[in-house]
Amino acid sequence: MTPLLTMRGIVKEFPGVRALDGVDLDVDAGEVHCLLGQNGAGKSTLIKVIAGAHRPDAGEVVLDGTPVSFGSPQAADGAGIATIHQELDLVPALSVAENVMLGHEPSRWGFTRPSDAEALTRALLLRLGHPEIPPRREVGRLSAAGQQVVSMARALARDARLIVMDEPSAVLDPEEVRNLFRVIRELTAEGVAVVYISHRLDEIREVGDRVTVLKDGRTVARDLPARATPTAEVIRLMTGRSIEYVFPERAAADPAADVVLEVDGLARAGEFAGVSFTVRAGEVVGLAGLVGSGRSEILETVYGARRATAGTVRVRGAALRTGSVPAAVRAGMGLCPEERKSQGLLLHEPVYRNVSLPALARFARAGFMRQDAEIAAAGGVTAQLDVRPADGTRAVRTLSGGNQQKVVLARWLLRGCTVLLLDEPTRGVDVGARSEIYALVRRLAAEGVAVVLVSSEVPEVLGLADRVLVVREGRVVHEAPACDLDEARVLDLVMEGTAHV
């Protein structure tokens, strides 16, 4: 059988950077082809080449036996290639139906036919297992997972032959991931090819047929069987070393250490209620819960970024003014927010300015910046965290996800904090940087920092935290030492009462 899509020797250069350096890829009709690689391996660039957003500098692309060269995303779209990007490209102010039909609106004599669009959209959403999403709802008001579904529906609406999915599961909870897999299987049964990208190896084993591994812009392994290839082998190919990321050993938290953070009866109307917990110096407390359970909202409210409707937050015994981030920061708190790019970074500013942001006053005399001292101090912490490349004057946007996350962490390392709140610290971070971040969190705890960790990945919460709070529908439903829990138990607690199979 000839493959549906064949790519040979694809090269793509940006000024000074060879993002792709000879990539080969074969995708058959009706298969789920997984693309693996660390951040910066060239996956995103390759997807953009497939989707017509970048024109390759060299190499050939053959679609269904015909050599093609897409000059624009529209051309790829016309050839039956749909892409679901990691950063969703929906128009927030338009309705669900308008987004699904964008560019292909059903029309007669130039007039759009909204009722047809809505009917088609409703059918697609039903097929995706989400009949509860109203086609007229504004997309901006949907949850991240809801938007992901709309993105999927849009790809389906095109009757695409090849669908590229860039980390579609990152914002989905387990139930929705199962749904996604069901849809993927239906699509492949109809002969549609899916290129699937994910950091989660278990997903690739579950849904994938074959695997292609990229490293440093090159294909290092092609057409591996997704289920039969051992994990160690996959990781060795991706990283060039043969270890699986492991959690650092933890020193048992001192049960007599001072309580640093006390949260008492914290509530926010419509989001969560009655949340109470304490964190001792040197302790890591994990919040486990589904997307939408209220875990991120709790964290942001503790930090003062959202105004609590009831309850108090105390740091070392002193109550914080509610709804004031500056007060929280002065009291010694720091937050690494969930959305690194939109909430954490000044993308166009250099690394050092991102690091010094909460500590500007320390590098100023009578309001005047002492930039040399600032650059030196920021460089000190970024070197400690091994941020690559080491040049602190580079714009943060040019760094990979893992290094960007380290920059956000470096910020609080520089300022120094007694309470560190981490929201999804390893989302979109590759395996190597992950273990470095884990080591850093444990190191900070060992130095006496109280850490609160929110993560969608249960193994991460269990592996890193001393104590785990399970959050469901805005309430803390269970609290236990991490060593008394296992993944199955946490998942059970997290999902209890929700409509699952």
């Binding site: 950077v17 660039t45 990321y245 050993e249 909430q343 000044l346 910046m369 040049d391 470095e436 060992a446």
Partner: protein, 375 residues
């Protein structure tokens, strides 16, 4: 975004150099130095080399290109071109007195543009500047105010400007209304208030000290030009050398990130509009002196001139990036065009068409240049 996708390939964590997963244990001392594995240096070298190639910074040339003047090479070129045209078409263009005329006529809009640059870099917009200046000029030149002497007049102008800015800032920061609407409303009501106070008449400046500002020269250069230069100098230092300026860029670049890093975004937003109002107050004294009147008709459409100068100066309308030097170059380009038309006895209608074309061309050149430099 093509510049974003340049990242893969160079910036990925170098696998060989990452610390082995078994170490460091939690209690280990800070992992400051990467383990001295041999492939690590290799990989790191590759990354650093690619990084240097990707962004030619750190060199003298790089720093020059990154400075205000460098980033506005297109604008400098336009200005030079205009001067060449000036020398070719009018004998009087290259005379000292004509150049001082250009600087003097640039001074009032220039002072306003300094304030507007801060607001726009901070992610806002201020449409009210022209009429806030008019209101300040009227308030400072009422018979009652003038009777207290020049110090009170200056104080009044500055207080009215800052007060209007404070109202703008409070409504934007705490009322959560978009800056466009708030400052548009301020433009309209400031106009109305100025007309009400002055009874739509021009109020003559009788105070000799204020009237003398426009006619005084120091070392042959008008005092107005010194005021302009001083405001630009203070503005430049504030924007580029202080925590205030740093916060302005941060808030304009990503207000949410700035807020979550502990910056008081609302208070800073208010400060930016007060600063813009203060510049209007300074400009009010200058225009009252130059025209020897305070009038509600002063400053009509100044907001558009100032915003146009800021934009062709390379400041992003969405905030977060920009230079004060660029804005000032923008003001000088516009003023020079006006001067050329006056010297050549051309009609102002054509002058406005030329201005419009120049705005588009300058922005086109700059976006091209930026795209090719950032990849």
């Amino acid at each position: 975004m093509s510049d974003h996708s340049a990242a893969p390939g160079v910036t990925g964590t170098a696998p060989g150099a990452a610390p082995p997963a078994s170490a460091p244990p939690a209690s280990a001392p800070p992992a400051s130095a990467p383990p001295p594995a041999v492939p690590a240096t290799d990989e790191r070298g590759r990354i650093e080399k690619a990084a240097r190639a990707a962004e030619p910074r750190g060199s003298t040339l790089g720093r020059l290109l990154d400075s205000g003047v460098g980033r506005n090479l297109g604008l400098v070129a336009v200005l030079v071109l205009l001067c060449v045209v000036g020398v070719a078409t009018a004998d009087t263009f290259a005379t000292t007195s004509n150049l001082l005329t250009i600087l003097t006529s640039a001074s009032i809009i220039g002072v306003i543009t300094v304030g507007v640059t801060f607001v726009i870099i901070g992610g806002g917009i201020d449409l009210s500047v022209g009429k806030v200046m008019a209101l300040a000029s009227v308030w400072a030149t009422t018979v009652a105010t003038q009777s207290f002497g020049p110090v009170v007049m200056v104080f009044c102008a500055l207080a009215v400007g800052a007060g209007a800015g404070l109202v703008n800032g409070l409504l934007i920061a705490y009322g959560r209304i978009v800056p466009f609407i708030v400052t548009l409303a301020m433009l309209i009501s400031a106009q109305g208030l100025a007309e009400r106070i002055s009874g739509r008449r021009s109020q003559i400046v009788t105070d000799p000290t204020i009237a003398a500002i426009a006619t005084t020269r120091l070392l042959g250069i008008p005092l107005m030009v010194y005021i302009f230069a001083a405001v630009v100098a203070v503005g430049w230092v504030l924007l580029n050398r202080t925590t205030f300026g740093r916060r302005t860029f941060a808030i304009g670049g990503n207000p949410e990130a700035a807020r979550l890093a502990g910056l008081d975004v609302r208070r800073h937003t208010i400060a930016l509009y007060v600063l813009s109002g203060l510049c209007c107050g300074i400009a009010a004294i200058m225009i009252a002196s130059l025209t020897t009147t305070g009038s509600s008709t002063h400053g009509t459409l100044y907001e558009l001139d100032a915003i146009a100068a800021v934009i062709i100066g390379g400041t992003l309308l969405t905030g977060g990036r920009g230079t004060l030097i660029g804005s000032i170059l923008g003001v000088l380009v516009f003023t020079t065009i006006t001067n050329l038309f006056v010297l050549n006895n051309l009609e102002t209608e054509i002058q406005n068409i030329a201005k419009g074309v120049i705005i588009v061309i300058a922005v086109l050149i700059q976006t091209r240049a930026r795209r090719s430099s950032s990849g």
